[in-house]
Subunit: 436 residues, 2 copies
């Protein structure tokens, strides 16, 4: 009757946590959710499996290779690889049931068959917000997004972080003024400037057959520094005669002003003309967010403005603006660098330890405590007292309550603070107050 | 430049909700989560994709056919089809990092390629709790589970529901006393008694080559009725000379007594000897839960006690007890029958509508309200007032706040209750109090 044992393991590239870590992860997820809701974003949830034909309407190349795609019966299906394509499909599909501007948040798992590498995940949580307009959408929305980022990262416990903003129209207009019409390749090069440095950037720009003189102009342009207002002022003084540039600059100025009005301190956001976001998807404001003491982990929250969300699914023009937090990667990096640590492990506040013969009383008191809103567990297994206290310790349960003859007679229970070792004799409702 | 439009749609058997419904769904999910936490269960989250070899170690037949299984590269992988197999794998894999009794909850999506049928889902949420022991686990745990069910369904807004409990050891012992050694087939027949009726049950039992006399005894046995204590008493009076039966009866008695101590009213739980739970997995207490006014939707929460959770993955003996709520199906059925309805649609409490030229003030007040904990949205698009009020109406946002010259001068803002139409002039902090 001996059974073959299969080694319990999961696939590489998948994150799985012990409860202590899971609680910390969930706390971060809830903080993000609460902040999204604070600004009026509404929840949606879409299937993880979609029709390949629909999900892969747009994508090509690298993304497509990474997609988990398979057939069941005669149906060709794929796992979603981001939350943007499902959003586009969702808005197009439910168009007539939605109110615009449509502000939605979506927190869910996505799948990418990434190369197996430390810190790269094949299943990871994205936490997205987007504001979608029907036909058009005001530029002030672009300023609300950094306000959400600011509020969220503050609540996550960070102080020193910078939301970098830029405007794709401004960049495009500037390149246009140098007769560079296809800015995409240039943007991709600029996007890497933090990584590769100025000299290598110049080299790569020259490879794009840009004149030395223009390469210098580009570098000079993207290196414009100063306070946000100073940068705007310097951009104005460039007197670039290009409508796209002017529009972009006007947008950027409005966005900067409204970000301030939304209460984001100047030290937490800055115009950075090197932020380009390589994707051809973005058309206006773009964002990246960096933890100042941990720039090595890269942008922790990025996004931008786009002109047309769902052109593959509908003729309705649906412009929008949004950002995404890659929570699984963020959590992993923060834990690796010991920037965050499980603090309040225990969701359970009291462990009741009934003495022999007092299980009934223990259970009854647990009922009362729960009714008073205290997460309470009764230790119902047999065993030595030491083992039971140890259990509370291991699970970081902050209080224990031993129930025995004396306690039941007096209706006073000894609440033990597991950290200090202090004990107090209290009534059930005093205990609830104490623990809250 | 005309682009091919792909019809936006999802696969059949997948549930997708508009935000109004999603909020209701999420409220139910949160209620379940909060109740699980109230009793000391800890969260885990496992990958949706696992190695086929691991995930399908046990299953065979029907389940295996329904599994979404595919290869990527040379890896054979499958989507999880329940949360029990991942739990078994998880506990075996993380055995040394866990404290026992290990109380975990898991709320997540699972996948089954069910036949396409109304009300059948291929992607659905399960909400599971289990208490896992290391080697052994006290029978009182079996009584805590109904306490969690009771507390959860009360909080979900139900009053009239019955948690039916039975004991597999008792059933098995009884059949043994009739010299029926393989009880599995008998249990499957009994499991259907509610559906097929007594006569058909008798017929099917006879097909199993059970003597007419014993068929009558079985029917008489499972039809024992009365209060919980009366049923226990009648079972005792049967004087069945079988150790398994005696053990099972003792367990059942303990469980019934402790369910009362856990505060579950007698009207909300009953011993029902026809509840068998066909799976060979269960070995002791079993549960099913019915909404008394909607028995047609079947059991809304089921589970039981098992001897060995993870024998495919470890030699450690890991007995446990648990239940599962199939939330997607439950939500669907409750909505179909109009038993639940979106009540408090809006997570957003105030929509600020700035008059022309007062956007800055509108944004500033929104900051203050958010700081006071009020979910607030500013309507930043251009448009007529009527359209803006209409937006609040459509989204069920309960209050609007119009900001214009007068309001800014007086620092008093007109809060309009969208339901009653009443308006009040209040300061920002009065507004926060009012809305809370």
């Amino acid at each position: 009757m001996s059974k073959k044992i299969i080694k319990p393991s999961i696939l590489p590239g998948f994150m799985e946590l012990v409860p202590k870590e899971q609680i910390l992860f969930n706390q971060m997820r809830d903080t993000i959710k609460n902040n999204y809701e604070k600004f009026g974003f509404l929840p949606i949830d879409t299937p993880i499996i979609e029709k390949s034909e629909v999900l892969l309407a747009k994508s090509a190349g690298e993304t497509e290779k990474q997609v988990y795609r398979f057939e069941k019966g005669s149906t060709d299906m794929s796992l979603r690889f981001d939350l943007t394509v499902p959003l586009a499909r969702y808005v197009a599909q439910h168009y007539s049931e939605l109110e615009f501007p449509f502000k939605r948040y979506h927190i869910g798992k996505v799948y990418r068959g990434e190369r197996n590498q430390k810190g790269r995940f094949r299943e990871f949580y994205q936490c997205d917000i987007d504001i979608i307009g029907n036909g058009k959408i005001a530029v002030i929305n672009d300023a609300e997004i950094p306000a959400v980022i600011y509020s969220t990262f503050k609540d996550l416990g960070f102080d020193s972080f910078t939301i970098k903003i830029n405007n794709r129209r401004l960049l495009g207009g500037f390149f246009s003024s140098l007769d560079i019409e296809d800015a995409t390749m240039v943007l991709r090069v600029i996007d890497k400037i933090e990584k590769i440095g100025i000299e290598k950037t110049k080299e790569e720009l020259r490879l794009l057959e840009i004149k030395d003189e223009d390469v210098e102009k580009i570098i000079e342009f993207i290196k414009i520094k100063g306070s946000n207002d100073e940068i705007i002022e310097k951009l104005k003084q460039l007197n670039v005669e290009n409508d796209k540039f002017k529009e972009g600059l006007e947008e950027l100025e409005t966005v900067v002003n409204y970000i301030k009005l939304f209460g984001v301190p100047e030290e937490n956001f800055e115009v950075d003309l090197t932020i380009a976001r390589g994707l051809d998807y973005y058309t206006g404001t773009v964002y990246e967010t960096f933890l100042n003491d941990h720039k090595e982990i890269g942008s922790v929250c990025s996004g931008g403005r786009y002109d047309d969300l769902a052109s593959f699914y509908t003729k309705q023009k649906l412009p929008g603006v949004g950002i995404s937090i890659g929570l699984t990667r963020l959590f992993y990096l923060l834990r690796e660098a010991n920037i965050i640590e499980p603090k309040e492990y225990s969701l359970t506040k009291i462990l009741i330890i009934p003495m022999k013969g007092y299980m009934d009383e223990g259970v009854k008191i647990s009922n009362s405590l729960r009714e008073m809103g205290i997460n309470t567990q009764v230790y119902v297994e047999k065993g030595k007292m030491g083992k039971k206290f140890n259990y509370a310790d291991k699970l970081d349960i902050p209080f224990t309550l031993v129930i025995g003859e004396e306690e039941v007679k007096e209706e006073l229970y000894s609440l033990r603070d597991m950290k200090t070792g202090n004990q107090e004799k209290l009534t059930a409702s005093e205990i609830a107050d104490r623990v809250k």
